[in-house]
């Protein structure tokens, strides 16, 4: 006979859990709407929310400088924040699931650094000047870095999650130093690349989105397609394989999704750290481990983090601004320290 410890039994909570997840996702959407509104209203020139609504609905006078700020500057900036944040959040969730490593993200896997290096090289060699032209170099650099990190992490055919994160970090360090060397060698490259490299949503029109949107959408579709398999992959490669998961194929697809999402985000806004790491962690705390819920959660949580950081950057040293990449790095570093402590415990 099998015996069960009577103290161990609890009331079934399956249905309430699903209801709780739906509620949290709706709540997240509300918070995201609030962040969008704040991003449209706040900055070196703060605009009342009523004027924001007027500007959006077209009711505002076009000569009004407040309306011009909202439609000309804040709307593109906010839309970019929404798209980039969602892409980074989703990339982080898929990267962590596919590698079974809670510290994996586009930054720690070297994907961001690869994209940055490729773009800066292109600026140096080909004299590019506009972010629209960066896209394909960012994708190529991200893909090469992902392949290199993956190659370093293989051990007797299996992927070792720890080696992947270590290899990615080493790769990121090397690529970052090469990027710095290039910028120090060429004044023109430095001037052209430095604001992009910090990571910023400012000073870009919506047209930078056009070339990356197909990539981001493809990345998102691939990400959605692998979510059920990622749940099984969490049991280890062997158990997943025994459940009929084509492990190598799923991991390649997930890697492609991460590369497309991260490269698209980097091409638009420059390498922004920590959103891809933090969003999945926060969502996992609230929503649990199921990637089918976690991915939508990160699509909401990523933009919340990025927009909040961007708004914060506009407010802390008003009337000047702090680039969003600096804010996320500032807020993200302590978060990473906390996460690292918790995972090793």
């Amino acid at each position: 006979m099998l015996r069960i410890d009577p103290a161990a039994s609890t009331a079934p909570a399956q249905r309430p859990l699903a209801a709780r997840q739906t509620l949290l996702l709706c709540l997240g959407l509300c918070v995201l709407l609030l962040c969008l509104a704040l991003s449209l209203a706040l900055g070196s020139r703060s605009v009342p929310l009523s004027t924001v609504f007027d500007a959006l609905s077209g009711a505002g006078r076009h000569a009004d400088p407040d309306v011009q700020v909202v439609t000309g500057l804040r709307v593109p900036r906010t839309v970019l924040g929404l798209v980039v944040g969602a892409a980074l959040g989703a990339a982080g969730a898929i990267a962590q699931g596919a590698t079974r490593n809670p510290l994996a993200s586009p930054t720690t896997l070297g994907v961001n650094a690869g994209a940055s290096f490729a773009v800066v090289t292109a600026i140096y060699v080909l004299r590019l000047t506009r972010p629209v032209e960066y896209v394909w170099f960012a994708v190529a650099g991200a893909a090469l870095a992902a392949c290199a990190a993956h190659a370093m992490a293989r051990r007797s055919g299996d992927l070792d999650p720890t080696r992947l994160a270590l290899g990615g970090t080493v790769l990121a360090t090397v690529l970052t130093s090469w990027t710095s060397a290039l910028m120090l060698a060429s004044r023109r490259t430095l001037d052209e690349a430095r604001f992009w490299l910090v990571g910023s949503l400012d000073g870009r029109g919506l047209e930078v989105l056009t070339p990356v949107l197909p990539l981001l959408l493809l990345g998102l579709v691939l990400a959605i397609a692998v979510t059920p398999a990622l749940n099984a992959l969490a049991l280890g490669d062997e158990a997943a394989q025994a459940l009929g998961v084509p492990v190598a194929r799923i991991r390649a697809t997930a890697g492609l999704a991460v590369v497309l999402l991260a490269a698209g985000a980097v091409a638009v806004a420059g390498p922004i750290a920590f959103v891809g790491l933090a969003a999945p962690h926060l969502c996992r705390q609230l929503l649990g481990n199921d990637h089918r819920v976690l991915l939508p959660g990160c699509l909401i949580g990523g933009p919340i983090l990025l927009l909040a950081a961007d708004v914060l950057g506009r407010l802390v040293i008003r009337p000047a601004e702090l680039e969003v990449g600096i804010v996320t790095a500032f807020l993200g570093a302590p978060l990473l320290a906390v996460l690292a402590r918790r995972t090793t415990r």
Partner: protein, 273 residues
């Protein structure tokens, strides 16, 4: 609804290896093995450490591609079967599976339905029924909302067996299911396996360390030695002092188990100088 009812014997469920060679990198672990495991029976794989029994089990579950030779299931080459189709016929419990952080028992067991689901297909009543039956069978229904990483070793092993059970396969491969468990929990797991065989008609292949337990619970014993087949057959016919001495290098007597009459290996007292 009893979804895990005994199955009509549409399949013989016979796993066989033909000239099977398995290697890790340059290391040849299993060298030219010919073996047929009876369908509808409980088979125990035994042998000394590093004899290749876990490797053989991985090869039989297609977790390791053969360097040479083939593995067949009812005559069909395993390597030519689609992954999902194989996962609907053959389930495997690895020796040390990864428990995802904070996953509940029910969420873990639900993952066993993976090979039965399609992308975007909703969770069906049949899926839930299979999960409920697996929880009931393994006595883990009361633990369903507990995080797996907070269970005792015995409870955790039963939760993992429930996962392979929810997979609803006629063949179950278990890699050292009793290792790291105390005696009572070892017997709990083995009794559970015996019931799965007796009541549900499952074909079971498991790697075991304890020869007495293997003889008690298995219909068929496969003894491996240095990647080669040392003996195979019913425990009462196969397990004798000469075999144990040859394979394990331990002088011993083999007596009938006073409880069950199956062979029991008693190592000879060593002279301490």
């Amino acid at each position: 609804m009893n979804l895990l009812a005994p199955k009509a014997t549409e399949h013989a469920n016979q796993l066989a290896a033909h000239g099977l060679r398995l290697r890790y990198g340059d290391r040849l672990i299993v060298d030219g093995l010919d073996l047929a495991l009876p369908g509808g029976a409980v088979t125990a794989l035994v042998g000394p450490n590093a004899c290749g029994k876990s490797t053989l089990l991985r090869g039989l579950a297609r977790l390791l591609d053969p360097a040479a030779g083939t593995v067949t299931l009812d005559g069909a080459d395993l390597n030519r079967m689609p992954a999902r189709a194989l996962a609907r016929r053959l389930g495997l419990l690895p020796q040390q599976p990864v428990t995802p952080e904070a996953i509940t028992v029910e969420a873990l067991v639900r993952l066993g339905r993976y090979p039965h689901q399609r992308l975007l297909s909703p969770w069906s009543a049949a899926d839930q029924a299979a999960v409920e039956a697996a929880l009931d069978r393994t006595g883990t229904a009361e633990l369903r909302d507990q995080p797996v990483d907070q269970l005792s070793g015995g409870q955790r092993q039963r939760a993992w067996i429930a996962l392979t059970l929810a997979q609803d396969t006629e063949l179950l491969l278990l890699d050292e299911p009793t290792t790291f468990l105390d005696l009572r929990h070892q017997l709990d797991v083995l009794d559970l396996v015996a019931r799965l065989h007796r009541e549900l008609g499952r074909t079971v292949v498991m790697v075991l360390h304890d020869l007495g337990q293997a003889a008690r619970y298995a219909d068929h014993l496969v003894v491996l030695h240095a990647g080669q087949l040392a003996a195979a057959g019913p425990p009462a016919e196969v397990l004798d002092a000469a075999l144990v001495e040859r394979v394990f290098e331990v002088p011993c007597r083999v007596i009938p188990d006073p409880e069950t009459g199956t062979p029991l290996v008693i190592p000879r007292a060593r002279v301490h100088s």
